[in-house]
Symmetry: C2
Subunit: 218 residues, 2 copies
């Protein structure tokens, strides 16, 4: 299957979250307009997205939840397990360690790192915290492919470069420092201050756009 665009992958991943929530419920099928309403997308957007992975609903019953989940898992390679490192074991890092794994079956948080020696060798929610100078060794040993950066802005770029050099292929950056990494490295950056600034703006100037909430184009 050819590479799907970033926007579509983002939405497919969200459909998967929704369907996972529904899969043990009473319904066996969902219509595209129901998926669309839950996601604040248009009906036709949902159908187009699911066509890209070769799935069609039945006009009379919609999409079969279990079958669609299997298709989504395959398209998104959810069957392949990724080792994840959390870099920075402050409150944010520890919140991610505690909460993330339950929602994603193919992500395994295998290690954490922190510059604070008092955190090193402690275990947070089952995940051991290592000193920063063990980063290269542990990332290689554990076969880490994804890293979540929860460190102060000033140290983010240097740590990201070390992670990439150690073999990490994707970085999720929570620091407010925008990173410069090779284009071959997948990179997502979440600047929470920017999200709030947008919210603040739209409390004063109501958006005229149809969408609101989870982004259609994410």
């Amino acid at each position: 299957m050819q590479t799907i665009s970033e926007k579509v992958v983002g939405r497919l991943s969200r459909y998967r979250t929704l369907l996972t929530e529904q899969k043990d419920g009473e319904r066996t099928h969902l219509f595209s307009h129901e998926i669309a309403a839950a996601m604040r997308l248009s009906d036709s957007q949902v159908r187009r997205d699911l066509m890209t992975i070769g799935t069609r609903g039945l006009p009379s019953r919609g999409y079969e939840i279990q079958g669609l989940l299997l298709d989504l898992d395959q398209a998104l390679n959810q069957t392949r397990v990724h080792g994840v490192a959390v870099v920075g074991a402050g409150n944010m890092g520890r919140a991610l360690i505690a909460n993330l794994e339950s929602t994603r079956t193919n992500l395994r948080i295998k290690c954490a790192f922190d510059a604070d020696k008092s955190k090193c060798n402690r275990v947070y929610s089952g995940v051991k915290c290592h000193p920063m100078d063990a980063l290269e060794t542990v990332v290689a040993q554990e076969g880490i492919t994804l890293a979540i950066l929860c460190v102060p802005a000033a140290s983010a770029q240097a740590l990201a470069e070390r992670l990439v050099h150690a073999g990490v292929k994707g970085v999720l950056n929570f620091s407010s420092q925008a990173l410069r990494l090779p284009r071959t490295i997948a990179l997502e950056e979440i600047d929470i201050g920017n999200y709030l600034a947008k919210l603040a703006y739209f409390t004063i100037h109501p958006s005229k756009e149809r969408r609101n909430g989870r982004h259609e184009d994410r």
Copy 2:
């Protein structure tokens, strides 16, 4: 000035972050291509965005940093102060309380709420944590307009509705539960699991798109 689109507001807010970092540096001016490179945007995108707020650079020197910051502050209403409530004072909530305010001068985290009685009446980084049943009273008293939801998925929707009822105009949702709120309410949702799922996908299927990292369309 007319309402700016959500995508443009997102980018303007990011330009503002970049320029704030630069404003005490040696440079007084920045060229659009320099802003573009730092943001992984195209040159023409940056110029178009800044034209929407009526700012043009000089061909010979680019944009004057201080002047552009003032224009951005005005366009984004950064001079208007917003009272922010953090709902859920677990690790994530406390991380936001500790780190957010320093980066955004017009956002004031004024209160936190938690269902855990042992957290109530404690003060985290200068912010008092109240019991959930005081939510309506404190939100009204403090004139809160924005709320950040850091609660488990199961309680997110009910709490969001209470916040809106109490007068909150914008919600930033960190729970994995997609919210349904009136369209008049500004809503941003950050499902961290989805970001990681996208990263995982693009470590296997390298993106053919030019962009990587901070989204041009955010």
